[in-house]
């Protein structure tokens, strides 16, 4: 393992401290329990809190700020945060209209947030994101995983919350965006969890993992490496099949295309992937009218990418376009 580390046990706190220092105009960091909030506490709105294991930066702390999250709870690398973090964060950002938790659908995250919600002295609701369509046979699973589509959910719900909308309205929009969003990832290399010190899985020079999760958990299948267009073709196909299975018609629909880097794939390649994906989707009659390309939901140092397609309607478009000012997403202000 070759990484910028002082002591393995200090990686998380040193990284959080650097984040808070670099964005001290936007966020405040609390340690033990660890959570990050907006610098300026918002008032009279639903407080949006997310969280999850670390290693997916800029998810979630990078999305704290006007128009998006009020707080985020970072766990250890790839490990869900604990209920005491969520309770303390809720206490800090509660603004009279209840708490909305946005949680990626993993057993650990769900259970820890569930236990926090049970103890929480405020009204709360939860949006579970589950945009990953990688798992073919959903009868084998507890449900789909939440991956990069979570960013779109956080952006739209965060925008609605700023208007003073109530808890139920925020949850309803979050669920809708999640339902209309589908993602699939591909890994070219494994990632290395600092405390483990070696790659999570073995993958050879001529292989790729189709459907990889954002923790390096295996996906649909191991395949032979091939040219980018052919890989993207399979990813696009998987997403289209997912929308078909969800009975969401895709032709002539407007959509947002997010090409996300998993941590060690250069932007040059991500744009190459965007080029291929946008062309393939438009061949299927989908009008890509919004786009985002970059590292938005990473898996430490994994080389790979994920494609996320969100089917837009007027409401989603309005909340995607609205002003946002967070460390990792800023426009319109």
């Amino acid at each position: 393992m070759k990484k910028f580390i002082n002591k393995v046990d200090d990686v998380l706190v040193e990284s959080l401290s650097g984040f808070a220092l670099a964005h001290s105009d936007l966020v405040s960091l609390n340690l033990d329990p660890n959570f990050i909030t907006r610098k300026q506490k918002a008032t009279n709105k639903v407080a949006i809190i997310s969280g999850g294991g670390s290693g997916h930066e800029p998810l979630h702390a990078g999305y704290i700020g006007y128009g998006m999250l009020d707080a985020a709870c970072p766990g250890h690398v790839f490990t869900s945060p604990t209920p005491d973090q969520m309770l303390a964060a809720a206490e800090a950002v509660h603004a009279e209209k209840g708490i909305l938790f946005i949680i990626k659908n993993y057993a650990g995250d769900v259970m820890n947030f569930e236990m926090a919600a049970e103890i929480l002295p405020f009204e709360s609701a939860t949006v579970l994101t589950s945009d990953d369509c990688a798992v073919v046979n959903s009868t084998y699973t507890t449900g789909r995983r939440g991956v990069a589509g979570t960013v779109i959910v956080e952006k739209c719900v965060g925008s609605l919350a700023e208007t003073g909308a109530d808890l139920q309205a925020c949850k309803t929009l979050g669920d809708k965006v999640n339902q209309r969003t589908s993602s699939i990832g591909v890994a070219l290399t494994s990632c290395t969890v600092p405390a483990a010190g070696r790659p999570t899985f073995d993958i050879s020079e001529n292989e790729l993992e189709m459907g990889v999760g954002i923790h390096g958990e295996p996906g649909r299948r191991r395949e032979t490496m091939r040219e980018a267009d052919a890989i993207v073709q399979d990813m696009v196909q998987a997403i289209l099949e997912d929308f078909a299975a969800k009975n969401l018609a895709t032709p002539n629909t407007e959509a947002l295309l997010l090409v996300n880097g998993l941590g060690a794939t250069p932007l040059m390649e991500l744009y190459l992937i965007y080029n291929a994906a946008a062309r393939l989707f438009s061949e299927h009659g989908i009008k890509i009218t919004r786009s985002l390309v970059g590292n938005y939901t990473t898996a430490l140092d994994m080389a790979g990418t994920s494609l996320t397609l969100c089917l837009l309607d007027d409401e989603i478009k309005q909340h995607w376009d609205s002003p946002v000012h967070a460390a990792a997403l800023r426009w319109g202000m």
């Binding site: 690398v77 945060p81 650990g108 483990a196 899985f201 923790h215």
Partner: protein, 207 residues
């Protein structure tokens, strides 16, 4: 069983986790995400650091304290599940107010039930419950038959091992391995393995 036994057990649990580092890590790398050993090690370490305090507490208070501490230390899925187990166990011991074998058997079963509810999982889903449910059933049955602690611990170790091995041929329907479908077959579930190790370590303390 008293608080000094609980203290001894925490050391035994930490030792077995540390001794099986490479096995737990490779199981989790195969069908999980590689953090199970690190989380178990962190949890065990935190509890061992509480030993002095635990020794002064009544068993139910000590077990509840262990649960609360694990809840705020481990994270992931193991954190709330193991925490639920200890807190569920503490509740029964407090209610019954004695430290008989029968009380510990029903406390153990109650702990396993809270895991079942929290995880919304059952036997046959390639999780720690494939170890815990058969052990709880057997513990309760043997305690009802007034079996000796030694007989019980010997039998439970065997049952735990069978349960752990049974996860090898299962498709995971709960937990991080659930996305793998048939690719999970042939791999022992890391959570089942660590539970089996902990049960074995505690049973080994019973003469």
């Amino acid at each position: 069983m008293n608080s000094s036994f609980i203290v001894t057990a925490t050391t035994a649990i930490q030792n077995t986790i540390l001794q099986h580092e490479s096995e737990l890590e490779s199981l989790d790398r195969a069908i999980g995400d590689g953090d199970h050993y690190i989380n178990m090690k962190r949890g065990a370490q935190t509890i061992v650091e509480m030993q002095q305090e635990l020794a002064t507490l009544a068993p139910d208070v000590a077990l509840n304290k262990i649960g609360m501490k694990l809840l705020s230390t481990i994270g992931g899925a193991s954190g709330p599940l193991l925490a639920s187990f200890f807190m569920g166990m503490a509740k029964i011991i407090k209610e019954k107010g004695d430290t008989s074998t029968a009380t510990y058997a029903s406390a153990f079963s109650a702990g396993v039930d809270t895991i079942r509810q929290r995880g919304k999982a059952d036997i046959g889903e390639k999780t720690m419950l494939d170890v815990l449910i058969p052990v709880a059933t057997q513990f309760t049955a043997m305690a009802a038959q007034n079996a000796s602690p030694k007989e019980i611990s010997t039998a439970l170790k065997k049952t735990a091992e069978q349960g752990m091995l049974s996860t090898k041929d299962l498709i995971a329907t709960k937990g991080r391995a659930a996305g793998l479908g048939e690719r999970a077959i042939g791999h022992i579930d890391p959570g089942a393995k660590s539970c089996q190790l902990m049960i074995e370590a505690v049973c080994n303390l019973i003469e």
